[in-house]
């Protein structure tokens, strides 16, 4: 009997275009994510990271393959079922925050719960507890344009946690942040993972961000190049290993 993983991706294919113009953005990729894991996906631009994230997040369709969450295959779901699935099972953190500008920070966090039709008391309690954990209580009444990039991204994390999702998908979450805010955000993600038990899948090309992950999948030209587990390595050691893999992949030349 094979072991059942929390999220299983089997032979995932995503093509764009047709005939001679067809591009394999994701080419027969298979991997898994276990409950409570903090997994990273790294790769150069055009390696298929974001495409894969979009398919996993059900906002894009796959050309072939299977993706199952806790045994449920999303391929078999219709549009409205997928929307419902997204609402109840996934949380998102994006590079450009994606907070609604007309809603205050508190309301942005409330929104996924309101959309689910949760009760007022439950919503208020959860907003309070998440914001306390992520340290954003003092900005709840403010609007996104009134707070810093780092605060916005932490608010986005709080929103991603609102519905207690099975998986949090983070797409280059530190991409628009300065180094201090980036470090604070990564600490926040770690808190979400370790203290709140959130499963996180983060796409990044930033080595420093990647070293916070438990495991990293390296993508190249739409295929998994290799996988690296942190194990007992400290951050410094893990960072070196990531650099080594990138060097093997040709990333050093790119960086130079």
């Amino acid at each position: 009997m094979t072991e059942q993983h929390y999220i299983e991706v089997k032979d995932l294919v995503k093509n764009y275009g047709t005939g001679s113009m067809m591009v394999n953005a994701v080419d027969h990729v298979s991997f898994y994510v276990d409950r409570g894991e903090f997994i990273g996906i790294m790769g150069a631009s055009g390696s298929g990271k974001t495409t894969m994230l979009n398919v996993l997040s059900t906002i894009d369709t796959m050309s072939d393959g299977h993706v199952s969450y806790d045994g449920t295959d999303i391929l078999k779901m219709r549009e409205e079922e997928l929307a419902d699935f997204r609402q109840k099972n996934l949380g998102f953190v994006f590079q450009d925050y994606n907070l609604l500008d007309t809603l205050s920070i508190e309301e942005n966090i409330m929104l996924p719960m309101s959309l689910c039709g949760r009760k007022k008391e439950e919503v208020d309690f959860r907003v309070k507890s998440i914001s306390e954990t992520l340290g954003i209580c003092d900005i709840l009444g403010k609007f996104p344009y009134e707070v810093s990039g780092g605060q916005k991204q932490r608010a986005a994390c709080a929103r991603a946690l609102a519905n207690d999702p099975k998986l949090i998908l983070a797409d280059e979450p530190t991409g628009a942040l300065d180094s201090r805010s980036s470090a604070m955000l990564l600490d926040t993600l770690q808190v979400m993972n370790k203290e709140l038990g959130a499963t996180i899948l983060m796409v990044t090309h930033d080595v420093f961000s990647a070293c916070y992950c438990d495991r990293i999948l390296f993508l190249s030209d739409g295929k998994i190049y290799c996988e690296s587990k942190r194990g007992n390595l400290n951050k410094r050691e893990y960072l070196d290993r990531i650099f080594d893999i990138q060097a093997q992949m040709g990333g050093v030349e790119l960086l130079c």
Binding site: L100, D101, L111
Partner: protein, 687 residues
């Protein structure tokens, strides 16, 4: 090169701002149609008379109202073009920044943008003219129907078309060019960085001064309640009306500021509605949109109000026209003469030559050198309410309205005249008299019937009032007629001779001119002999010694149409302009804030549910200016409806006409709504 880019951009503008383009087409089509009406040969003949081709009263009114409505429409058209060119310019700021970065001069960009808008405007003009030539036929058909004539579809002469075409071109072109040159200034203040960041500026939520706005909102609502109170309790005076008008202007603008403040406060207090699915998103969207566009919403509400009031008034006038004509002109022909022995033989012969007579009656009215009823009405009618403050003016009005002496008629003549109209004869005892007066006058004095009765010294018992239409604008008395037993007439003097005629079919309109000519007079100059009085009718009265119903009806209907058509015209244009502004605002938001719906999608909203959110969002935003304008215009129309009763004695179904106006406007509203909805959904779905 610039020309090529301008043409290509104009084509893109056409697609992106289809609603705006269509509205320009519709306005041009309406302008062209109405101008064609003004230059029509038939209309020219209808509004001119005499050998010198002088303008008739109806002609003067038509031209005055057309000039007024054209001026109003020009202002609103210029505003629309100016608003839209500025709006589009802001939306394309990034593109202009790229032009600047590429080395283009500000002046060149200004010329390019002017050209694009010019091409778009000219495109709309020619499309509108094409549409207008079809719409013109419809307008002519409706106009002819409204004045009781049949319109035969025909190709008007080149000259008529050319005049209407040139006038439309001139007016539209002036608006277009003025608006384009006004935008020139915006280009001179351009900075590249500002342009680059312009489209990145997100909507901000201004929650400052909410406390003040909430109070002003309460004041606005209070002002609306006061308006209803004044109208319902009949306390509208000149002073209150002026204050209310000023108050209403503020109400239109503060209402939306206050509304958004209340909503924001509700959201801050975390009202339970916020937790109901998408309402948090919707309420925030709505409140911030209302706050940021409160001035535009206020202006649109005003335009809607004018459109609704204009259209309802037009319907009411049309209703008045239909009801009042039989009251004012019950006989096919009626002639009055101060020659006591006039037997009207020449007139009778002429009428018999031109029409198939059903009944003809020659009779006389009497006076006994008293004016008790006239005195009573002078003391009690609203028309003479300035008798104490301005007695000279009031006396002057009385001299025009009433004969020197009260007018009497014998019961035999009276009953014959009633029978001619299909009315049951009345029975009058030898010691009784009755008073026949228009319903309008009766409504004003009915509560003082006893007072009137006591003020008369006729030596007979009062038998009551009769109020059917009875040619009382000078013929069968002016405003009133005392009907007495025949034997009572022996002690009176003959006042005037009259002849009333009913025919089997409609009398030819030209008979009117022929009857005047018979007396050596010209219709248009000599309708009013110096002896005839006209009563207290103030609205569209056309008194004349010789009244030929078909001719008078044609003229009166024409007169009414000259008023109601421009009202419809203005109403339609206002509506289209308002809807265009609402529509382009929403569509531009759908482009700029596409990401909001993408976020909702990521947060687990299916396409169908997002479609519902968009429907609700558009519905609330579209409904917003309508509600306020309906509230204000309803009470306005109620007031005017009541004034109608006072001035004409005719009860118009103001509620019905207001309802028809609202329903027909909502129909056009629905069209714009659907167009916006589908474009909106297309925009947010586009990757």
């Amino acid at each position: 090169m610039l020309n090529k880019i301008a043409l290509r951009n104009a084509r893109r503008l056409w697609k992106d701002y289809l609603n705006y383009f269509l509205t320009l087409c519709v306005i041009t089509a309406l302008m062209f149609s109405f101008h064609s009406l003004l230059f029509s040969k038939d209309i020219y003949e209808m509004i001119h008379y005499g050998n010198n081709g002088e303008l008739s009263t109806a002609g003067m009114m038509l031209i005055t109202f057309m000039i007024l409505s054209t001026a109003v429409i020009l202002v609103i058209l210029a505003w629309l073009i100016h608003y839209m060119t500025r709006f589009i310019m802001e939306k394309r700021s990034r593109e202009f920044a790229i032009y600047l970065i590429s080395g283009m001069q500000k002046e060149q960009i200004a010329v390019l943008y002017r050209k694009e808008n010019f091409y778009l405007g000219i495109g709309a003009l020619f499309a509108g003219l094409l549409l207008g030539s079809g719409l013109k036929q419809v307008l002519f058909f409706v106009f002819y129907k409204s004045i009781g004539r049949n319109y035969e579809f025909e190709n008007p002469g080149f000259q008529e078309n050319l005049s209407a075409f040139l006038l439309t071109m001139l007016l539209y072109g002036t608006c277009l060019l003025m608006a384009l040159f006004r935008n020139q200034r915006n280009f001179s203040n351009m900075e590249i960085i500002g342009l680059l960041n312009m489209d990145k500026q997100n909507e901000t939520v201004d929650e400052k001064r909410n406390f003040l706005w909430k109070w002003l909102f309460l004041l606005s609502v209070g002002n609306l309640l006061l308006l209803y109170f004044l109208v319902f309790t009949g306390r509208v005076t000149k002073i209150t009306a002026i204050w209310e008008m000023i108050g209403l202007t503020f109400t239109f603008y503060f209402f939306y500021l206050g509304l958004s403040a209340f909503l924001m406060n509700y959201i801050k207090r975390k009202g339970s509605f916020l937790y109901k699915r998408e309402y948090l998103f919707l309420m925030r969207q709505f409140s911030s949109k209302v706050r940021n566009t409160c001035f535009v919403l206020g202006t649109l509400s005003l335009l809607f109000m004018f459109a609704l009031v204009g259209s309802s008034l037009a319907f009411m006038l049309s209703d008045y026209q239909n009801k009042q004509l039989d009251v004012e002109y019950p006989y096919d022909v009626i002639i009055i003469s101060d020659e006591k022995e006039n037997d009207f033989s020449r007139e009778e012969a002429l009428i018999r030559e031109n029409a198939d007579i059903q009944d003809i009656w020659k009779y006389t009215v009497y006076q006994k050198r008293t004016s008790d009823v006239g005195d009573f009405l002078y003391q009690n009618l609203r028309l003479f309410s300035d008798r104490d403050s301005d007695p000279v003016m009031a006396e002057g009005k009385r001299a025009v309205a009433y004969y020197d002496y009260d007018v009497y008629m014998g019961i035999t003549d009276y009953n014959h005249l009633r029978r001619m109209l299909g009315l049951a004869p009345v029975v009058l005892q030898d010691d009784q008299y009755l008073i026949h007066m228009p319903n309008r006058v009766y409504q004003e004095i009915k509560d003082k019937g006893m007072e009137l009765e006591n003020s008369l010294d006729i030596g007979l018992q009062f038998a009551g009032f009769k109020t059917e239409g009875f040619a009382q604008n000078g013929h069968n008395g002016a405003d009133y007629l005392l009907v007495v037993p025949d034997q009572k007439l022996a002690e009176m003097d003959i006042y005037f001779s009259l002849m009333a005629v009913m025919t089997k079919e409609d009398v030819p309109e030209e008979l009117s001119e022929a009857l005047y000519e018979l007396d050596g007079k010209t219709r248009g100059y000599d309708e009013l002999a110096d002896y005839i009085k006209i009563g207290s009718e103030e609205l569209f009265l056309m008194p004349a010694t010789i009244q030929v119903k078909s001719r008078e009806v044609l003229e009166l209907k024409f007169l009414m149409s000259t008023l109601s058509f421009p009202l419809f015209y203005i109403g339609l244009v206002f509506l289209c302009v308002s809807l265009t502004v609402l529509s382009v605002q929403q569509l531009s938001d759908s482009n700029k804030y596409k990401f909001r719906y993408q976020i909702l999608h990521k947060l687990g909203m299916g396409k169908r549910r997002i479609g519902m959110v968009v429907t609700k969002q558009l519905f609330f935003y579209y409904l917003c200016p309508v509600i306020l304008s309906v509230i204000v215009s309803a009470v306005f129309i109620l007031y005017v409806g009541r004034q109608f009763v006072i001035y004409t004695g005719i009860h118009t179904k103001w509620g019905l006409y207001f309802g028809i106006s609202v329903a027909s406007f909502l129909g056009i509203y629905g069209l714009y709504f659907m167009l916006t909805y589908f474009q909106f959904k297309g925009n947010i779905g586009r990757k």
